[in-house]
Amino acid sequence: MDSVTAVAAREWISRFAEVIDQRAAELTELDRQAGDGDYGTNLRSALRRTRTNLAAGTEESAQAAFTAIANAFLHTGGTSGPLFGVWFREFAKAAHTELTATVLADAAQSAVDIVRRLGKAEVGHKTMVDAMVPAATALRASAEAGADAPAALAAAAAAAHAGADGTADQLALRGRASYVGEHARGVVDPGARTVALFFDAARPDVLVGA
């Protein structure tokens, strides 16, 4: 399978929702240590809304699946809500055509650009951007090397995890974690980890099994 099909997109997003449900407490704990401790709650409520949107949707397309998660996050509030909302929306926009590695790479690039513009965060500021940028870069490199979508996504996941891991050493310059100075040191940014978990959820068995 070269590209992400409609069914696969839906599976991918459902799998992501499942993983987040399992790890909500852990992500919240990161936000508690370097933020305000509501991250898991915000995320779970976005994903509850995603499931509702998916269930309500009649159209069976990758675009519909990404639109469901984008709108769910846009209806969530907080900081992560609108940022993930606009990020997912770029994937939804791209999904009018087949989601090949190249299309995914383009989408990831325009998605991180809009997040950076709205949130004014750059790599090193200890935010979701620290995972989004390397993921986009990895997708681009995989696409250019001729990899198929599952392989490109696996590379993106690895790059995003590495980016997220790297946030642990950083002092935050954006978001609430920036208020707590050294208390944020040693704490992985939950937004960055979430980005990595999203690409993780596109495991070959999810995409292919679909």
Partner: protein, 334 residues
């Protein structure tokens, strides 16, 4: 012992509280359930610039308790400690616009700034004129050289809402209100400390732990760590530690006059807030600074955090007059 709340499902906490607020004050506020926002039960008698504020919940009475004559036209509550969505905010703006434009009063947090600016873009497309006052009074987050999100918005927002609310009621234009609001923000700074952290609904422990002999200095209103720990001490030692940086930042000298807000962060008893006010007055009087007006109570809370914030606002005749103007809301009436 895990901290418990009187509530049902944490996800329904805010929605149910809005129903309760409306039930307790049906003559003052009307709570819209979905998208959630709070309007005045009776719109202002004459068309005027509308004031809309909002932000995460958990800070009550802010902002929902300040909807009413002389203050806000609408408040938009997010989930606990989470900004409302741009859709909610846009709906509240639409519902309160009377054709004279809408003043958005936004506390400086990434989420609030994001969602209010997305909302402003949405309604601007529909021809609604909006102006924004960004409130960033919290000295603990005075930006360092390397940049960052800037000072947080805390208790000075009450003064912005009250003073701009009074001016709007008298027919000030949107441009005038933006200028007035910014002047209030420029004249106000805040510093806070906590004796104990707060606990988020559904969590089983406070957002941080404090040793018995220390206070968390420079906290915000979301349970996050402050900028440092200081020894726990008597009020007469702690209060000047809060007031001194505020006095310095505002350049207050003998002969100055201020409006003082002694704000309880949630679980601080009225007796304690009165003692803090007394110590603050003594300290300021010692510097020759006059306390022209005071507001003492839990106005901008951080759930059940123990502690207080001290806000000073450099006062002049115009600001005092607007502060004194009548107000009639669930949480502030005179």
């Amino acid at each position: 012992m895990p901290v418990r709340q009187l509530r049902n499902d944490p996800d329904e906490f805010v929605a149910e509280a809005l129903r309760g607020l409306q039930g307790a004050h049906p003559e003052l506020v009307h709570c819209q359930p979905d998208p959630a926002y709070v309007l005045r039960a009776q719109p202002a008698r004459r068309a005027k610039v509308a004031l809309v504020s909002g932000g995460g919940s958990g800070h009550e009475p802010l902002h929902t308790g300040f909807v009413g004559a002389g203050m806000l036209d609408a408040a938009v509550p997010g989930a606990v400690f989470a900004s409302p969505t741009a859709f909610q905010i846009a709906a509240a703006i639409r519902a309160s616009d009377r054709g004279h434009g809408v003043l958005l009063i936004v506390k400086n947090y990434t989420g609030d700034v994001l969602n209010f600016s997305i909302a402003a873009e949405l309604v601007a497309d529909e021809g609604i004129e909006v102006g924004t006052v960004l409130v960033d009074d919290d000295l603990a987050t005075e930006p360092a050289a390397e940049g960052g999100p800037g000072r947080r918005g805390t208790a000075a927002v009450v003064a912005v809402e009250k003073i701009c609310g009074a001016a709007a009621e008298r027919g000030a234009t949107l441009a005038e209100l933006v200028a007035l609001g910014r002047r209030v923000v420029d004249s106000a700074r805040t510093m806070a400390l906590a004796l104990a952290a707060c606990t988020q609904p559904g969590q089983d422990r406070p957002s941080f732990d404090l040793p018995a002999d220390e206070v968390e200095f420079g906290v915000g209103i979301h349970g996050e760590h402050g900028v440092g720990r200081r020894p726990f001490a008597l009020a007469r030692e702690l209060v000047p530690q809060l007031a001194e940086p505020v006095v310095r930042a505002l350049g207050l000298a003998s002969g100055a006059s201020v409006l003082a807000i002694v704000n309880g962060l949630g679980a601080t008893h009225a007796l304690e807030l009165s003692v803090v006010h007394q110590e603050l007055s003594d300290y300021l009087n010692g510097l020759g600074v006059e306390v022209a007006r005071s507001l003492v109570g839990p106005y901008v809370t951080a759930l059940d955090m123990r502690g207080c914030s001290v806000t000073l606002l450099r006062a002049d005749a115009e600001l005092i007059e607007l502060w004194d103007a009548p107000v009639r809301t669930p949480a502030l009436t005179w």
